[in-house]
């Protein structure tokens, strides 16, 4: 075996090891969700057991899974649409009409992600309370949309930068208005990039827990709230918690698996010329 193929093997091995390590908790959770509670807490843990659907039926009996799932879908899609509506014009102006401070603005936007969300919990909570946005889908869409906004702007900005500005000038000569430039040239050219950004944003919003736990109770509660509700009230029921978690992540896992081709294509998008 020569040196380069040895390296290839080593890299492949490392990749698999990392992937397995990352997948292990999810796989274990999936297994646990089919165990009777007694088996679930046994030490040492066992992987040989007679599977049961008891946990799932218990979980579904206790809470209206479909309602939570509907909220999650509405919030993830709504927040993504909101973020895109704000980010596309924003990234356009930063990519094609940059000023001396454009870079600073981008960094500042990203820096808001470094602030722990809990730091603004009280003001946001009070604002949402006074605006009557607590426990509303719309309220959650606004806060989730704003929290993914920096990432969405950053991604779109980098995709838009790949577009030679001379193409926009050609469109301007051809008679395109500002919106024409944006909708007929920029958006179609960076379509795969925008799609990848949207997919990532949907996944981030789906998994978002902090704001849904703190700003919603019933009417707008998402699957993260659903999962959390199984974490403690009657002591720890690992198997039921696992079943609830599996139910929460199943849709987004399927979604992610189906869209991975678009994601990869979009994230490696470039070379318009």
């Amino acid at each position: 075996m020569n040196r380069s193929s040895k390296i290839t093997w080593a890299v492949a091995l490392l990749g698999w090891a990392i992937a397995l390590a990352m997948f292990f908790p999810i796989g274990w959770m999936f297994l646990t969700s089919f165990k009777p509670e007694i088996v679930a807490v046994s030490t040492p843990p066992t992987i040989v057991f007679s599977p049961t659907l008891e946990n799932y039926s218990a979980v579904l009996r206790r809470a209206d899974y479909i309602a939570f799932a509907r909220h999650s879908v509405a919030v993830a899609l709504g927040a993504t649409v909101l973020a895109l509506l704000l980010a596309i014009p924003g990234a356009y102006s930063m990519a094609f009409h940059p000023t001396k401070r454009t870079r600073d603005i981008l960094v500042w936007m990203m820096s808001t992600k470094m602030l722990p969300a809990v730091g603004v919990l009280v003001p946001i909570y009070l604002l949402w309370r006074d605006l009557h946005l607590l426990d509303t889908i719309f309220g959650l869409i606004v806060i989730d949309g704003l929290s993914v906004l920096p990432i969405v702007v950053w991604m779109l900005f980098s995709f838009f930068q790949e577009i030679p500005s001379v193409i926009l000038e050609a469109a301007r000569m051809d008679g395109a208005t500002l919106f024409g430039e944006l909708l007929r040239i920029v958006v179609p050219i960076s379509g795969p990039g925008i799609l990848a950004t949207a997919l990532l944003s949907i996944i981030l919003c789906w998994n978002e827990a902090f704001w849904s736990l703190n700003l919603t109770t019933v009417k707008a509660a998402t699957l993260t709230v659903f999962t959390a509700s199984f974490s403690s009230p009657e002591g720890l029921f690992w198997a039921k918690l696992s079943a609830a978690s599996t139910l929460s992540i199943a849709p987004i896992l399927v979604f992610g698996w189906m869209s991975q081709r678009q994601m990869v294509r979009g994230l490696s998008f470039g070379g318009v010329k």
């Binding site: 030679p164 001379v166 193409i167 000038e169 050609a170 469109a171 301007r172 000569m173 051809d174 008679g175 395109a176 024409g180 007929r184 040239i185 179609p188 050219i189 379509g191 318009v272 010329k273």
Partner: protein
């Protein structure tokens, strides 16, 4: 069909003034080439005419109407970009019809116009392709076609051939000239390549540091360059410049002493020369003849054989290098010693500031 007029047009980016006050009138149906080295402001000037850059100062008129505040599309001009700037997500037909679509032209009329232009450019077979499936030459054709479909008052071309290989450039040059004759439209052509300007343009405007150095027909610029800059820019191989000093002035002729040694009597120019004045003598390679009777000895350093002609790079007495053009069948080799004669009636004189000292009076002197 348009006249374009610039009146004292200036452009600054911040404190830097790129265009220093340009006055230029372009006649209807004229093919004008703006040439100059990079940084001379030629592209900026074109972009200002197009409306892609604002005019900082001065007036810009199309058909006599001021257009400084008219958006690009409303000026009725079409532009062809150096990098083609085709819309990558659209087919060739869509690229060419985009301006019509934006103007609200119905699809059937649009298709008809696109097809008509495609026929002229002989690219009907490409209409359904995407830009990435085209060669450089084909993309250039599409870019020109896109400009043609809107039937503009004038075409603005920004170095349209510089991304093509030499063979294709020669072919496209002829095609552009043919197109200009057929379309009968004003064309403004920006290039850094004097050959393109010489071969295609009715008139050449030479720009340097944001100023017009000279404007005239290709042959005017070739035969009567107004400045050292123009003399060096127009013509290939480049004009040779020999530093010299005025030695003797008589009513019949002026004798120059070349810094490189030797002296030369030239016809008396209209402007009086003072004895002792430093002048630059410009002589084109084609006006230097290899002649055993010639007054300047030299040695060939390099020969470039072009077949019909050879370019001789000759080192003169004290090291000055000049290029001479000799017939290709002349047997010479690097290292050969020879004598050169300068064609006296074809010499150019420039003063210390680089301005041409008016041409010798024809027939005066000798």
């Amino acid at each position: 069909m348009a006249t374009i007029e610039l009146r004292n047009v200036k452009k600054s980016f911040g404190v830097q003034q790129i265009i220093q006050g340009i006055d230029l009138k372009i006649a209807d149906r004229e093919f004008v080439a703006l040439v100059g080295p990079s940084g001379s402001g030629k592209s900026t000037l074109l972009r200002m005419i197009a409306g892609l850059e604002e005019v900082s100062e001065g007036a810009l008129l199309i058909d006599g109407v001021p257009v400084e505040h008219v958006p690009p599309a409303k000026r009725g001009l079409a532009m062809v970009f150096q990098s083609y700037a085709l819309y990558p997500q659209m087919t060739v037909a869509e690229n060419m019809g985009f301006n019509l679509r934006l103007a609200g032209v119905p699809k059937s009329t649009r298709d008809e116009k696109v097809r008509a232009v495609a026929r002229v450019l002989e690219m009907e077979a490409l209409l359904q392709r995407k830009p990435r499936q085209l060669s450089g030459g084909q993309m250039q054709r599409v870019a020109i076609g896109r400009a043609m479909t809107r039937q503009p008052k004038a075409f603005l071309l920004d170095e349209p051939l510089s991304n093509l290989d030499a063979g294709l450039q020669a072919q496209m040059r002829l095609e552009l000239v043919r197109l200009h004759q057929e379309l009968n439209t004003t064309m403004i052509y920006v290039t850094h390549d004097q050959l393109e300007a010489m071969t295609m343009a009715d008139r050449i405007v030479v720009l340097n540091n944001g100023r017009i150095e000279q404007s005239g027909t290709p042959l005017e610029l070739y035969h009567h360059p107004a400045t050292v800059f123009v003399a060096g820019f127009i013509g290939a191989p480049k004009m040779n410049f020999l530093q010299s000093e005025v030695a003797i002035v008589t009513p019949r002729e002026v004798t120059l002493t070349l810094l490189d040694g030797g002296s030369l009597a030239v016809p008396v120019p209209r402007r009086k020369l003072a004895e002792g004045e430093n002048v630059t003598l410009g002589v084109r390679p084609e006006d230097i003849v290899v002649d055993p009777e010639g007054e300047f000895p030299g040695q060939i350093e390099i020969i470039e054989h072009l077949g019909a002609w050879s370019f001789l790079h000759v080192r003169m007495g004290r090291g000055t290098k000049v290029v001479a053009v000799a017939p290709g069948d002349r047997p010479s080799r690097a290292g050969d010693r020879l004598r050169l004669r300068l064609l006296r009636q074809r010499l150019h004189l420039f003063d210390k500031s680089g301005m041409a000292i008016e041409d010798p009076i024809p027939g005066g002197g000798l």
